[in-house]
Symmetry: C2
Subunit: 191 residues, 2 copies
């Protein structure tokens, strides 16, 4: 199935037979380089400590939005299920071991062709630490969340949707808040 770009440098925009939009097509062999949306998988992972419920957040060490707080999340890999990928990201970014509960939300960031699958999860151990893509990680009470220093709108959406579905054992996953596209403006402007 694989046609590495190196095998044929002769790609041009064309509408493949039976298709209805332009794609990158190899003029040597007809291979169509379909471009597809990317899947981001992540979690709102929590643990109940003696002092109350805490939410795992990571402070980004990488661009974009280095220094801002986010949920553990990243691109789903080939041959990986979304729930497994979400747990992997929590390990990579926060050395967090967790159990996936259920799908909290499906967000569409159409501008950048991203589909985000965000799961609700339980941290099985409060011992977390920064992985290579995090400056630091922390367990936050709801009232301590650094709302003015969140990395992306969808982090705010997921936290709100987590709060909204707290205590519910079966619910329909949330989607983008009405009218919200994930645009990086206001508090989320580049900085």
């Amino acid at each position: 199935m694989s046609h590495p770009p190196s095998a044929s440098p002769r790609f041009a925009r064309a509408i493949p037979e039976g298709d209805d939009r332009e794609r990158s097509v190899c003029s040597d062999c007809g291979f169509v380089d379909y471009e597809n949306p990317k899947v981001v998988v992540g979690t709102v992972a929590t643990i109940t400590l003696p002092e109350g419920e805490r939410i795992l957040l990571c402070r980004r060490a990488i661009m974009p939005r280095a220094g801002f707080w986010t949920l553990p999340a990243g691109y789903l890999e080939l041959n990986e299920s979304p729930a497994v990928g979400a747990a992997r990201e929590a390990w990579e970014e926060a050395r967090a071991k967790l159990e996936i509960d259920q799908l909290l939300a499906v967000y569409a960031i159409e501008r950048i062709s991203q589909v985000q699958l965000i799961y609700r999860a339980r941290l099985v151990d409060p011992a977390v630490s920064a992985g290579p893509e995090s400056q630091e990680v922390g367990l936050f009470a709801w009232g301590e969340i650094p709302w003015d220093h969140l990395a992306f709108p969808s982090v705010e959406w997921a936290l709100s949707h987590w709060r909204e579905t707290s205590g519910e054992s079966a619910f329909a996953p949330r989607s983008n808040p009405s009218g919200e596209t994930g645009r990086m403006s206001g508090r989320f402007a580049a900085g």
Copy 2:
């Protein structure tokens, strides 16, 4: 963001800095050609007629599994939200106009790096007809579903999960039945 394959034919497998697995990397400019899982969006679309509830199925006109019955589904396009994509596929394959209800299931077909987002939907009009990728389309009572002529295991899963959640207004989306990978064996062997 775009680095067309034509711009540099010199891709080689390498582990990019800060990464932990091999990617296709351009030896000219360092561009990393990440390969990503693909998102399939589809629907179990139903309508209640005087004679009872009916489910929309399409008989495939294209490979793989031409001649077998499937749900309207296909690849999510760039800059498209999953729900919009699912409705588009129903139009393309069955000229069906529908209203998306809620997410029925997230299936992972890891072997082919596919994530399937299947929605429950209401057909707003029983007038459906075959689009270019369908030989025919039909509205089936539950007892009329051609179980022995379904195209893919996930079609069977989605129909079963639709039945299981029938009448529920809020539920957690289903995932692969336990131990099921979507392997094309038994009834689903190439044919």
